[in-house]
Amino acid sequence: MKRNLILFVVFILIFPAAAILSIPGVKQRSAYAGDKVYTIGVVPQFEQRKLYAIWEPIIKDLEKRTGIRFDLRSTLTIEAFEKAIERGDFDFVYFNPYHIVQVHDKQGYIPLVADKVPLRGIIVVRKESAIQSPAELNGKVVAFPSPNAIGATLLPKSDLGQLFHAAVEPLYVKTHSSVYLHVAKGLAEAGGGVEKTLQEQSEEVRSALRIIYTTRSFPSHPVAAHPRVPGDIQEKVLKAFLAMNDSPESAAMLKNVPVTRFIAVKYEDYAVMSSWGIEKYWQPVSGD
């Protein structure tokens, strides 16, 4: 009888505590500084599962380092992502370098960090292709990942038109990898990419391709903050990303993005692209 009574008292004490602890956010309150959860949008460079597999560990690392809670988000298509950043949906964003210029007037995203290795756009053809010069691509099918990809689409298209006077038939195939495969399998005469993503391809793919043109360099994809995010939070995030460079585990995770090493960037680093005359190749996102 006595034993039953003790068990009852223990149960009465434990049950409310468990109920409180089971409320969402209670536990987090004890681990994180504030209630605010910041959204961080990542451009859909990869298929969603792969993208989340790359970024979720990084975000968790970032949360640990900053004590700030983040909500990782992406979209199924680049077009949808462009609409989202135009609306300013995300507090933080990892996106196309030229986007920051495009939405600067509307949302004013502030670049924080970017890969120290600058990007350079490339035009590839099959290794055994007869095409030697971009000018020979006039009237040919050229694969691009998406209409507004700065390194893989806008710069190559801009240079093809302005420098080589070659009007190509674009074929948008979602990702850089898909561009390379299309070229390798002969589904397109050439394809637009960036050096960095070509290096990430398998040896088999790389050996099947040949670069016939390389564009000028430009800063890599930045992690930017929306101006509504408090400055101290931006500062924390900036420092945290930079601190990841010194951690082998974090660096290994960043390599999958791919990021060789983060450096601090400013809007001015990207603003130069507005003078390159690539606006006419930009395809504004229609609808919402």
Partner: protein, 566 residues
């Protein structure tokens, strides 16, 4: 070749096991593998359908990298997928990167199957997916599983069969062997073996029954042995020959007395034809006939009887024997057992007795004859004496005495004329006696008739003499007094046997009757007193007088048995 119990039990089990192995290996396993291959192929088809469904948006979106990642992952995950080939609607290979030879070229290998799926979206041909799948690893794994399962099954069966074998060996074969040995010992008359241990099962009950049977058999065997010893003692020590003959007439038993009586030893006659040995030639035909009938029916004219007959010894001499013959049936065959007694001495004694008897009969006959003659002399003397006497009373007395002596004389005459010299036919006697009386009294036989009926009863001399005297007295009275003055009438004499040993003699007449004032017991008449004395004292019987119609005397008596004289 007779099979042992062990073989009979194990052979079907081994055959069953072999059939099971055969079925498992050549029937069930190939069939199951075929089913598994079909199911696996179906599952792969369904999997490919899903893959195709997933490919449609990727193809529409030109997401070739994702397609490559998925296919690489599929190939990595499905080790039995040899290759995947994806071609667009124009036939251009989208996957793999390297243009490999068409999978159809490898399809000749065993268990390698090519699955081709058209990728159709809203009637739009997006391409063709070709997958080359080698079922060998899958089937090999299953084969390995089957072999393992079959091996386990066979091991279980083998252990089961072995267990059954051990149980059968211990619970059935060994006890049955022990039973066999015991039965063999029993067959040799060895009843002293220890009883087998009986378990609780059926075999145990069989063993228990066998033990009980053995004990009873031992008891019966002892009784039989004792009986046989007794019989042997009887037949060995018997003075009479005991001979047994089978249905074919062959000797099957011959005791020592038979050896003594007939002169043949048992070894000489056993199995020989009996009738050719001991039966005189003149009887052989009858014996043969009788034997045939006996063999079929167990019956015969002398079966169950004792007869005297002639037999023949080894030396050929014939001698009289008394044969008691009985029949017995063994195994549906009739056998005859004869007890033969040599009656040579008895026959000689009988002959001597017969001769002595004949001599005595002659002597007795002579005595009766001489008695009768002497009585006739007496009667003649009385008759002569009566002729010399004038007084009628004396004449009557002498005549009555003469008649009485005649009556007795007639009995002796009848006796020596009879066959056995001891009994006379009373009817014949009565007829002769009454004729003599009629003649004696000068009665007119036409006026007074005498009727006699005594049913040919034979009476001994001790009974016949009183009866004859009674008839003599009563008939004499009737002839003298019942029919006076020429009255006609009749006298009746009846002698009947009223029960086993009692007779009734009725002597009556229809004459005038005895006057009522005369008491026949207390009369002066010598005749009536004599009748009463003879009836009551001599015959120890009863006498009644009926005067209703004439005179009727009823005398009841039993025959007097002759007492041997010392």
């Amino acid at each position: 070749m007779p099979l042992s119990l062990r073989t009979k039990v194990f052979l079907p089990l081994l055959i069953l096991m072999a059939l099971l192995i055969g079925y498992l290996y050549w029937g069930w396993m190939p069939q199951s593998l075929s089913n598994i291959e079909r199911q696996y192929k179906g599952a792969t088809e369904r999997h490919l359908d899903s893959v195709v469904e997933g490919l449609i948006p990727l193809l529409l979106g030109r997401e070739l990298d994702t397609i490559y990642e998925n296919f690489d992952a599929l190939l990595k995950k499905n080790s039995d997928w040899i290759s995947i080939r994806l071609a667009d609607s124009a036939g251009r290979t989208l996957y793999p990167l390297e243009n490999t030879p068409s999978p159809e070229s490898a399809a000749n290998a065993q268990n390698v199957h090519i699955l081709i799926k058209q990728i159709i979206y809203l009637n739009m041909n997006l391409g063709t997916l070709t997958v080359e799948i080698d079922h060998t690893p899958h089937l090999t794994a299953w084969k390995k599983e089957f072999h393992h399962a079959v091996a386990v099954m066979l091991a279980v069966i083998a252990v089961t069969v072995l267990s059954i074998g051990i149980v059968l060996e211990r619970k059935v074969v060994q006890p049955v062997k022990a039973l066999k040995q015991q039965a063999h010992a029993l067959a040799q008359g060895k009843f002293g073996t220890l009883n087998l241990e009986a378990g609780e099962d059926e075999i145990g009950r069989l063993v228990d029954s066998f033990n009980t049977m053995k004990e009873k058999l031992a008891m019966s065997y002892n009784l039989l042995t004792q009986s046989e010893e007794k019989n042997r003692a009887i037949t060995t020590t018997a003075n009479d020959a005991i001979i047994m003959m089978d249905e074919n007439g062959h000797v099957s038993f011959w005791n020592p007395a038979a050896e003594n009586i007939f002169g043949y030893t048992a070894e000489e006659v056993l199995g020989k034809y009996l009738h050719s040995i001991i039966v005189p030639d003149r009887y052989k035909a009858d014996y043969e006939k009788g034997l045939r009938y006996f063999s079929e029916t167990g019956k015969g004219p002398v079966v169950g009887k004792t007869i005297d007959m002639a037999a023949r010894r080894k030396d050929g001499a014939e001698f009289p024997v008394e044969l008691s013959l009985s029949a017995l049936q063994m195994k549906d065959k009739w056998h005859a057992v004869g007890v033969v007694r040599d009656i040579t001495q008895r026959k000689l004694a009988e002959a001597r007795i017969l001769a002595s008897l004949e001599e005595k009969e002659l002597l007795l006959q002579e005595i009766h004859h001489r008695v009768k003659n002497n009585m006739q002399v007496i009667s003649s003397m009385l008759r002569l004496q009566a002729g010399a006497v004038k007084d009628k009373n004396y004449i009557t007395i002498l005549n009555d005495s003469q008649n009485r002596i005649k009556a007795m004389s007639l009995i002796h005459e009848k006796l020596y004329q009879s066959k056995d010299l001891a009994h006379i036919n009373f009817n014949d006697y009565s007829v002769d006696l009454t004729e003599e009386l009629i003649r004696s009294y000068g009665a007119d036989s036409g006026r007074v008739t005498i009727k006699i009926d005594s049913e040919n009863i034979m009476l001994g001399i001790d009974t016949a003499i009183p009866c004859g005297l009674i008839i003599n007295e009563l008939v004499s009275n009737s002839l003298k007094y019942a029919f006076p003055k020429g009255r006609r009438g009749e006298v009746l004499i009846f002698l009947t046997k009223i029960n086993e040993d009692e007779f009734e003699l009725i002597v009556s007449d229809n004459g005038i009757g005895i006057p009522d004032d005369i008491d026949f017991r207390n009369t002066e008449s010598l005749g009536l007193r004599l009748v009463t004395i003879l009836a009551e004292n001599q015959l120890r019987g009863t006498i009644e007088l009926n005067r209703t119609a004439g005179t009727e005397f009823r005398i009841r008596f039993k025959e007097i048995k002759s007492e041997k004289k010392a």
